[in-house]
């Protein structure tokens, strides 16, 4: 019964998202595309932060690695979508494997800082290797991806649909994953790693799996961003980008499937609109963060439970057990 409702709801949401390019301007379609890209990116970090309990401040490394790899492949080898996207995915998976191997040896705040260290070193590498990456000027002139028949996805709506398809695939995949036994092990690690260890699980192995998976999905988001912009900047790897995506997860609600997507939508819309009206947009964005922590500590999806609680107070018949969100 419930899963039926979810199916209907998701289908309606996807349908509505499909209508965006037909109903709105190119500008708004562009913003929606960015929201979906950052939605994928935030959802991938959420796998670490929300489900496994590993707070990373270096997740932009894989976004950047995916973006640079697929752009470089598109420029120098083949603009074919599958070639460039899969190379972006593979290289970011490998990068995440290496970084994760080291980072998962430490925990807590040390983990956060070690991920930061690795992402900053990758940033420095990209910045220094100017002959390949364009250094601080970034990599421009990335060709639009082409399909098998040589058809280029060069209109904003065709790119939008590419992004939407991948968004739906990633979200559906994540939903399946977090409900799978493997996903449940990760949640177990988040809740109590010592207990999982004593139950005989090799927690380090599972944390590495989570890290690699998150890195790979982050890489896909990065590759999509480079198609979308036709440009990659080293800022995509810089710690400010890692901080921004972490904020998206926290604002949206860590440990929920859709929370990070809401967070991404909120941040992208907030920054786009506000910075057109005032130079002091950091003041407003910062105040928003503070207000969130004080009034909506569980993020945007927490709003829903606040609303439900007040509904409950009025009609005390519902007997749902809320999913644990922490």
């Amino acid at each position: 019964m419930e899963s039926q409702k979810i199916k209907t709801g998701s289908l309606a949401a996807v349908l509505l998202l499909c209508l965006v390019p037909f109903l709105s301007s190119d500008y708004f379609t562009g913003i929606m595309a960015e929201i979906l890209i950052f939605g994928i990116f935030a959802a991938s970090l959420n796998l670490l932060v929300g489900y496994t309990g590993l707070v990373s401040l270096g997740h932009a490394a894989f976004f950047g690695v995916g973006a640079y790899t697929s752009s470089l492949v598109a420029i120098h080898l083949s603009a074919n979508l599958f070639v460039s996207l899969i190379s972006g995915l593979l290289v970011s998976l490998v990068a995440a494997g290496i970084v994760g191997f080291f980072c998962n040896r430490v925990s807590g705040f040390y983990f956060l800082m070690l991920t930061l260290a690795f992402s900053q070193m990758i940033y420095a590498l990209v910045y220094r290797w100017g002959s390949l990456t364009g250094g601080d000027n970034g990599l421009s002139g990335v060709p639009k991806p082409t399909l098998a028949g040589g058809v280029a996805l060069d209109s904003s709506s065709s790119l939008y649909f590419l992004i939407l398809i991948l968004f739906v695939l990633v979200m559906a995949g994540l939903r399946l994953f977090v409900r799978s036994p493997l996903g449940q092990i990760l949640v177990g690690i988040r809740e109590n790693e010592t207990r999982m260890k004593s139950m005989g699980y090799n927690t380090t192995f599972y944390k590495n799996v989570s890290f690699v998976l998150a890195g790979g999905i982050g890489g896909i988001a990065g590759a999509l961003y480079s198609y979308f912009n036709g440009f990659v900047s080293p800022k995509d790897i810089y710690w400010t980008m890692s901080g921004e995506v972490l904020i998206m997860v926290l604002i949206g609600g860590a440990g929920t499937l859709l929370g990070p997507v809401f967070g991404a939508a909120f941040i992208v819309i907030l920054e786009t609109i506000i910075s057109s009206y005032t130079d002091l947009w950091m003041l407003i964005v910062g105040t928003t963060f503070i207000l969130f922590v004080i009034f909506i500590p569980k993020g945007i999806v927490g709003l829903e439970s606040v609303w439900r609680k007040s509904a409950k107070a009025r009609a005390p018949v519902q007997t749902e057990s809320p999913e644990s969100v922490s």
Partner: protein
């Protein structure tokens, strides 16, 4: 040889400057378990207040050095009581988000009040000249900063190890309930610690301003550096922070000269190396 010696002095002076900037962050994290991402902002406010004081109140660097950190401490108390206190029950990530939001707000407020162009605080005339050291010219102000940094380190050590307040604070770190049970108000302890952290950030800001300059954005530059030192030294250890500051100052100074290609990576590479070899930093305890 002389060049090596003077580079070592350069590294140590940079390291002690970094220690002054980081000590407050280390204290707050070690005792309260709060990762204060607005620490850089407090540092910046200290520097700008010093500029304001020397321009409008008393044209003396030393007056600013005395007054500005106190004002920053007062500002910190307001922040702790008004914003931070309600978030202690929410966990680390909430405080990270809150203090980061705060850093954004302070950034724009400073820009709004003092403008966005780069400014500088002049070195006091009495410390403005240079001396000969190992056959090289070395600014006296840097020597003064080194001495001052050592005094701050000694004072912090004395405060933590030898005074009643220090004992309470150390106890608060290991067992909050116990301190509460002894009839000591842990809430007040936290406010005081946060104020001291702010005071130290302010001192760092004033001392560094003549060397590093003042501009909106200076706080994020310093914040990342301070976080690195905090981790390399090990969480909750002032001695570790001091050691890490010196090591990073020296390694960075020599690294820039010997491996200029890697200059962007040195500090982060060092941090990664330390954490991989010793997952709790140089002198840290396991803190989750």
């Amino acid at each position: 040889m002389d060049i090596l010696a003077i580079q070592l002095v350069n590294g140590l002076s940079y390291g002690l400057l970094l220690f002054m900037i980081t000590s407050g962050l280390s204290l707050i994290f070690g005792i309260m378990g709060v990762l204060n991402l607005a620490h850089g902002s407090l540092y910046m406010v200290g520097a700008y207040l010093a500029l304001g004081i020397t321009k409008h109140v008393a044209p003396s660097f030393f007056a600013a050095l005395l007054l500005a950190p106190l004002l920053v401490a007062l500002f910190s108390v307001i922040l702790e009581v008004g914003l931070l206190r309600p978030t202690y029950r929410l966990g680390h990530l909430s405080q990270v988000l809150l203090t980061f939001g705060l850093a954004y707000v302070v950034h724009d407020l400073v820009r709004w009040i003092w403008g966005s162009s780069v400014q500088s605080l002049s070195i006091p005339a009495s410390l403005g000249s240079s001396v000969e050291l190992f056959g090289q010219t070395f600014p006296i102000y840097r020597l003064a900063v080194m001495g001052f940094g050592l005094i701050v380190a000694a004072a912090m050590w004395f405060f933590q190890e030898k005074t009643r307040w220090g004992a309470i604070i150390r106890a608060g770190l290991s067992n909050r309930e116990m301190v509460g049970g002894l009839g000591i108000n842990i809430t007040v302890v936290f406010t005081v610690v946060f104020a001291i952290g702010g005071l130290l950030a302010g001192i760092g800001g004033v001392a560094a301003a003549p060397i590093l300059g003042l501009f909106p954005g200076m706080e994020f530059e310093v914040l990342i550096l301070a976080l690195v030192i905090l981790v390399v030294g090990g969480l909750g250890s002032i001695t570790g922070t001091l050691a890490a500051s010196m090591i990073i100052g020296v390694v960075d100074t020599f690294g820039k000269v010997m491996f200029p290609q890697l200059s962007l990576m040195i500090i982060f590479g060092l941090m990664a190396l330390v954490l991989i070899v010793k997952p709790t930093g140089l002198l840290g305890k396991q803190v989750n």
